[in-house]
């Protein structure tokens, strides 16, 4: 693991009109590290990964990926740099087959050749490779969304609430997969409400409340922090 962080946010601020949804966010993630982002609904978790992935533009601050500013880069260029993401509501090319979904990402997002079958196998969809993505179950579409992101050879993966709606065995499989990705050197930022799931894959979380960073550290410490308690149950 390199000592220089892979991604660094410096004083990122995002406003929707007059409403400030991210206040002066600063944190970093290193290669091979898993960072959990938690917080109540509306705390700015998804906005944070939207800003990093280029879906939204931050109003001020800097986003450095491998030391280079990427704040004003378009989404496709950020994807090609090695940052990709999954979506809370899985997005995929519904009219295309699962294999084609992976192939599109491998063709346009990856710098090196990608083993499409290996990715389909990794996400458990090899048997469904020829089926239109739109006919897959929601959970399978979530996996396809993750596979699509993986096919771009990312060095930073942003995962948005992948655990919602999964049963315990599926959660176990996802946790193992995410840990194996980190072991390969991919940095992950995981937005999640399921704290037990998060606890299984990382001991470093950032807690957000109303767009502010309330806490950074382990989940166990977070649960005792007064600001975190106040944000979750009202203070």
């Amino acid at each position: 693991m390199s000592s220089e962080p892979l991604l660094r946010l410096e004083n990122i601020e995002k406003r929707f009109g007059g409403l400030i949804v991210l206040h002066e966010q600063s944190f970093s993630v290193s290669a091979g590290e898993i960072l959990g982002l938690v917080g109540p609904n509306g705390s700015g978790k998804t906005t944070t990964i939207n800003v990093i992935s280029g879906v939204l533009r931050a109003n001020s601050g800097r986003i450095l990926f491998e030391g280079k500013e990427i704040r004003n880069q378009p989404i496709f260029r950020i994807a090609r740099l090695g940052i990709n993401r999954s979506f809370q509501v899985p997005k995929c090319f519904r009219a295309m087959s699962a294999r084609e979904n992976i192939e599109v990402a491998a063709t346009f997002g990856a710098h090196a050749p990608v083993d499409v079958d290996a990715i389909l196998d990794e996400i458990g969809l090899l048997r469904h490779a020829g089926e239109p993505a739109g006919s897959l179950t929601v959970n399978q579409q979530k996996m396809l969304d993750l596979g699509r992101a993986l096919a771009t050879n990312p060095r930073l993966l942003l995962i948005d609430e992948i655990g919602a709606g999964l049963n315990p065995s599926e959660l176990g499989a996802i946790a193992a997969l995410l840990k194996s990705l980190a072991a390969r050197g991919i940095a992950l930022i995981v937005v999640e409400h399921l704290l037990e799931f998060l606890n299984r894959i990382t001991d470093r979380v950032i807690v957000l409340g109303a767009g502010r960073m309330l806490f950074e550290g382990s989940l166990a410490e977070a649960s005792r922090h007064p600001d975190v308690v106040a944000a979750f149950i009202g203070g």
């Binding site: 989404i75 993401r85 090319f93 295309m96 599109v104 990402a105 346009f108 699509r148 992101a149």
Partner: protein
């Protein structure tokens, strides 16, 4: 019986040509999710390009084909970058695009009217061959066969582009989901600009043959061609360029049957078909079957 054969063979020829007329509009809609209301005016420009080459330079009108492609690039590329990314950042890109392309249609029509006047212009029949070619005992002028051959080549070329090239793969991905395509690393604006250029070029190429298939070209034919193209792509499948061929054939055969048996009603064909399709199968005849293939 001979009348029916004439209507069917003629309808297929007419329909294949009208597939070319509509296919550019469908490609642009599929990629940009915007209806190019100036589509018919770009077809009309192709017709005037061929007319200029033929009447002023003495060239064969088929040289209008490379001219249409050049026009598609020169007009389409800057027009895309000048307006489309900005429209797509707005709150209501579809509605704004209607207004914008309607405005562009009016400008093209007005400028053409100023330059060429309101008269109808035709092209010399002999330029594309002065004979007839018969099928099932029914003769059709050489010019129709040339128009159909060019249409088949253009539609086949578009099919190969979409199915066998890297850019075509990106284009299909954008047609499937524009936002998802960005996330997979596709430079959506560049690929969509190329599709826009292709769409305008195909419209211009169709325009070269409009004087032969419709009889003449004049500044006022654009609106009708846009409506007909729109009907054809709705009949086939909106957003699926190759569904246009089905729409074109249904329109062509329907029109020729009406012209043969109830000539005075034939102008109603595109509108009647449009209404029927919207009522019974809004996704078009090919609908999802082809989109998911």
């Amino acid at each position: 019986m001979a009348l029916l054969e004439y209507a069917l063979v003629g309808g297929i020829l007419y329909g294949v040509f009208f597939s070319l007329v509509g296919i550019g509009l469908n490609l642009v809609f599929g990629v940009m999710r915007m209806i190019n209301l100036a589509h018919g005016q770009f077809i009309m420009l192709g017709g005037f390009g061929a007319y200029l080459l033929s009447s002023h330079l003495g060239l064969n009108p088929v040289f209008g084909i490379p001219l249409a492609v050049a026009g598609g690039i020169v007009i389409g590329w800057p027009l895309y970058y000048a307006v489309v990314p900005r429209l797509q950042r707005s709150n209501d890109p579809e509605m704004l695009s209607f207004i914008l392309f309607f405005g562009i249609a009016q400008v093209i029509e007005a400028v053409t009217l100023l330059v060429f006047g309101a008269d109808q212009h035709s092209l010399p029949d002999s330029a594309l061959g002065s004979g007839n070619i018969g099928v099932l005992g029914q003769d059709f002028p050489d010019s129709w066969w040339v128009a159909v051959a060019v249409s088949v080549l253009c539609i086949g070329g578009l099919y190969l582009y979409l199915s066998s090239t890297r850019l075509g793969f990106a284009t299909r991905a954008i047609m499937a989901d524009r936002d998802e395509a960005r996330t997979t690393g596709i430079d959506v604006d560049r690929v969509a600009a190329i599709a826009f250029v292709i769409g305008l070029s195909l419209a211009g190429i169709a325009g070269v043959f409009v004087p032969y298939m419709v009889g003449s070209v004049s500044p006022s034919i654009g609106g009708g061609l846009t409506t007909t193209s729109f009907a054809i792509i709705i009949i086939g499948s909106l957003g699926n360029p190759l569904g246009t061929v089905v729409g074109g054939l249904v329109f062509g055969i329907g029109t020729m049957l009406m012209q043969t048996y109830y000539a005075s009603w034939s102008n109603l064909v595109p509108y009647a078909l449009l209404l029927v399709i919207v009522l019974i199968r809004p996704s078009g005849l090919l609908g999802k079957a082809v989109r998911s293939a």
